[in-house]
């Protein structure tokens, strides 16, 4: 069916009655253009809700039934303006026309009552009303005919390919996923009947093989041995089946790894360079951080060192020298006074030299100070000996405050600083030099970092270098691993098959006479039938994939014909049983360099279109509805998509942010465009967070 119009009343952001929220469509491409947040996706929801009674919950990324969505279906502005106690109704009306020009009006209604400011009492479910236009008026269609009419608007099995959002394209056409490819193949063919045939043949083959084995056992000269061998053969066959499965799995995994290696190989050079630069960045950043920490510590340490390393005493040596002079004078005066008091002049203080040295002089019979000989008993010897017997002068009564110990302590303390003070200059200089080195190092490394950043910018592509290198390594390892496993599988299979043949030979040797010909023939026939069914199914499947590939290539060529940057053709590379990978290859069949996300989406959209434009020509009978199909596509590629859409579909309705500006809409002249509606979200209060103040304006614009 072709869609003539859609209108909404207080549905989601579409506040107001049907007269404000109606969009009329014609054949060709019908565009609904608007910025993000303008209401495009809600319009897509309206199409979906009126037919399927479900709405897409963007938070949960899933379709939910009306009973779970309830008053959320209704415009917030309408709910806000609704007085407590009143009921509010939301409606979506779709008018469709079938190939015999019969017009149907499909209306879905949901009601809810406002009980309190935020409390709503809604109906459990929505109500569907379908009317047929007869001559001059709409006439209600009985409920039992509803589903068949809805199925004619868009057949359920086609829905995934005819009604989709841009973000679903990837998963819809993920042919690595066996079920996605089979879903498309099933749509295009009766291949499931071949699967049924294979099942029947297998059952027959198993049964006839069993009958044959039983018959052979009956004729055996050693039934026990035959039974054992039959059991052994069954076990071997079971192992063969299991090993076959393993081989299939490993083969698929190896092919996938190879595909990913091919895909990444073009990006790896840049990625390796980037990864290397990142490693350098990491090292440099760590060095800068460490240098900064050391610098900070050193700078903070400057103040600490003034006291812990006595740097503050740096210039005090001359003052201390003055103190030493003053102390010397004091000491002389002090000693003189003490000596006078004791009527004895002590040239040397008591215990100077220390007694231990005096004893050594006596033992050595010489004076260590003047070097003269002092033989035992000589005057010199006695003079030295007297040094030991001197008595300490009694000083305590001489002074009111004897400060000699205190002053000596002060003097000794300062004297001990002499070496420290001498080295302060050197230490401070070293520290300043160290700070200077750190600052230079930080500056130099920061410069290197900047240079790396510049090199980064020169390397095109998004920054996933580490992932790419890592991914590449992983796939390479996987490929090696699965290749080895495959070799193991093949060797084991060969050995198992040999064992099976030998086992069968040993069983046959035990047979006395001949097995009934019918039984033997049945076994052979079913076995052959099985092979025939499997290969026939394989051929049909391969032919269908080729047909799909061919159709998709025609559309892919249409889409890319005006874009010289995309060359090559689409190839569905067989991975293993019932799974394929879509890729772009050159004329020699090699995967093309630079296949980016945009190209992949183009391929997938080509495949979608190939499915619906195939033999059944669904594209001529049904409307394609898509929300932001070009969302993952570079702008320069989207033009080809719209061109192909116009050429292949009788009607399409596309919600998009392409062509929002008048300048962009000039390009539409070359496309088969039906209508263009511009939708805009309006917040009269200016607060874009306030959805209770939101309505949408719909304007049909000139192309």
């Amino acid at each position: 069916m072709i869609i003539e119009s859609i209108s909404m009343k207080d549905f989601q952001c579409y506040f107001g009655g049907h007269e404000q929220n109606t969009l009329n469509f014609s054949s060709g491409i019908n565009l609904i253009v608007g910025d993000n947040g303008g209401g495009k996706s809600k319009l897509y929801d309206a199409f979906y809700w009126v037919l399927y009674d479900q709405i897409f919950n963007s938070d949960k990324r899933e379709f939910v039934p009306t009973k779970n969505y309830q008053e959320n279906l209704i415009s917030d502005k309408a709910k806000n303006e609704c007085p407590i106690g009143n009921q509010i109704t939301t409606e979506v009306v779709l008018i469709v026309v079938d190939s015999r020009d019969t017009k149907y009006r499909v209306t879905r209604v949901y009601k809810s009552k406002k009980v309190d400011d935020r409390v709503w009492l809604g109906e459990e479910s929505s109500r569907l009303l379908i009317e047929e236009y007869k001559v001059t008026r709409w006439q209600s269609v009985p409920g039992d005919k509803h589903s068949s009419i809805l199925e004619r608007v868009i057949p359920y099995h086609l829905k995934p390919y005819m009604w989709f959002q841009g973000e679903q394209v990837d998963s819809l056409m993920d042919f690595k996923n066996k079920s996605a490819l089979m879903q498309a193949i099933n749509l295009l063919s009766d291949i499931s009947e071949y699967d049924d045939l294979i099942t029947i043949c297998k059952t027959g083959s198993d049964k006839s093989a069993k009958n044959y084995a039983n018959a052979a056992t009956q004729l055996s000269k050693n039934k026990t041995a035959s039974n054992d061998l039959t059991a052994e053969l069954q076990k071997i066959q079971k192992d063969i089946a299991s090993r076959d499965q393993s081989k299939d799995h490993n083969s698929k995994a190896k092919n996938e790894a190879q595909f990913n290696i091919d895909r990444l190989i073009n990006q790896i050079d840049d990625a390796q360079k980037k990864s290397q630069l990142k490693d350098e960045t990491k090292v440099l950043t760590a060095k800068i951080d460490a240098d900064r920490a050391s610098l900070e510590e050193k700078l903070e340490g400057f103040n600490k060192n003034m006291f812990s390393d006595f740097w503050v005493l740096k210039n005090t040596q001359p003052v201390f020298d003055d103190f030493a002079t003053k102390y010397q004078s004091y000491y002389r005066g002090h000693t003189k006074k003490v000596s006078m008091e004791n009527a004895e002049v002590l040239k040397l203080p008591i215990n100077i030299p220390q007694p231990i040295h005096v004893h050594e002089m006596l033992n050595d019979e010489s004076c260590f100070i003047c070097g003269r000989e002092a033989k035992k008993g000589s005057t010199e010897y006695i003079h030295i000996e007297n040094l030991l017997t001197r008595k300490k002068a009694e000083t305590k009564d001489i002074f009111n405050n004897d400060c000699s110990s205190f002053f000596q302590k002060i003097y000794d303390n300062s004297l001990a600083f002499k070496h420290t003070i001498t080295n302060i200059d050197k230490n401070v200089a070293n520290e300043f030099s160290s700070v200077h080195s750190l600052r230079s190092s930080i500056q130099e490394n920061a410069k290197k970092l900047k240079s790396i950043e510049e090199q980064f910018e020169e390397l095109i592509g998004d920054d996933r270098s580490e992932n790419i290198v890592h991914e590449f390594k992983t796939h390479t390892n996987n490929k090696d691993r699965y290749s080895q496993l495959l070799v193991g599988d093949e060797k084991e299979l060969e050995s198992l098959q040999k064992s099976a043949i030998q086992c069968q030979k040993r069983i046959d040797k035990l047979v006395m006479g001949s097995v009934d010909l019918k039984i033997e023939s049945a076994k052979d026939i079913f076995s052959n039938l099985c092979q025939i069914a499997i290969s026939a199914r394989d051929e049909v499947f391969t032919a269908l994939v080729q047909e799909l590939e061919l159709s998709a290539n025609i559309i892919f060529q249409q889409m890319t014909s005006e874009n010289t940057s995309i060359t090559g053709r689409l190839k569905l590379k067989k991975l293993s049983h019932d799974s394929c990978l879509p890729e772009i290859v050159d004329s020699d069949g090699f995967i093309m360099a630079g296949s980016n996300d945009s190209n992949i989406i183009l391929i997938k959209l080509s495949l979608i279109m190939a499915v619906v434009t195939s033999r059944a020509q669904w594209s001529k009978n049904y409307c394609l509805i898509s929300d932001a199909p070009t969302s993952k596509m570079a702008k320069k590629y989207s033009r080809g998509f719209y061109k192909s859409l116009g050429e292949n579909f009788r009607q399409s309705i596309v919600m998009t942010y392409d062509f929002v500006s008048e300048e962009d809409r000039e390009e539409l002249a070359e496309l088969e465009v039906g209508t263009v509606h511009k939708i805009e979200a309006v917040y009269p209060g200016g607060d874009r967070e306030n959805r209770a103040d939101l309505y949408v304006t719909i304007t049909e614009v000139a192309q």
């Binding site: 903070e300 006291f307 201390f320 003055d322 103190f323 005066g333 405050n401 302590k409 300062s414």
Partner: protein, 158 residues
């Protein structure tokens, strides 16, 4: 410890009240671990550190402030509590060198005489320390940006 020594260590040299803001800006008043104090961004972990620094700067630059009894000086903590002890003793040695303190006479003086000598020492310490504070204050005013740097004080010694 004799009377003179005791009295010297009990000294509480003062600073001119006008320097209080300067001291508070660069020195931590009150307790707390040293590391924490430096983290708070103050250059000196105690007032006595700043005071000793000011003394030695005054000495180095030969700026002795002429103080009189009319000047309002504020003492903060007895010298016996200042650290490191060796530095305090060195400060005393330097102050003895630069003052008229009579090392011989003080030994024979009575209480008044001792007090008089010790006053001389205290005044010498205060004179250089406040001279140093004045110098620091001038540097801060003339180089406000440099004054925020960690090496601001060490550079005064160089």
């Amino acid at each position: 410890m004799n009377n003179v020594e005791k009295k010297i260590y009990k000294l509480k040299p003062g600073y001119l009240v006008g320097f209080e803001d300067l001291l508070k800006k660069y020195a931590q008043f009150g307790g707390g671990a040293d590391d924490a104090k430096y983290i708070h961004g103050r250059s000196f972990s105690n007032v006595y550190e700043f005071y000793m620094f000011a003394f030695f700067i005054g000495l180095h630059k030969n700026i002795a402030m002429d103080l009189s009894d009319d000047d309002s000086l504020k003492g903060f903590w007895e010298m016996e509590n200042w650290k490191p002890k060796e530095m305090v003793d060195h400060l005393i040695a330097c102050a003895l060198a630069r003052s008229d303190f009579d090392m011989l006479a003080v030994q024979e003086s009575d209480e008044n005489g001792v007090a008089s000598e010790i006053r001389k020492l205290k005044r010498t310490i205060e004179s250089y320390a406040n001279g140093g504070l004045k110098y620091v204050s001038t540097q801060v005013e003339s180089q406000p940006t440099e004054a925020e740097q960690d090496d601001f004080f060490i550079k005064m010694l160089v």
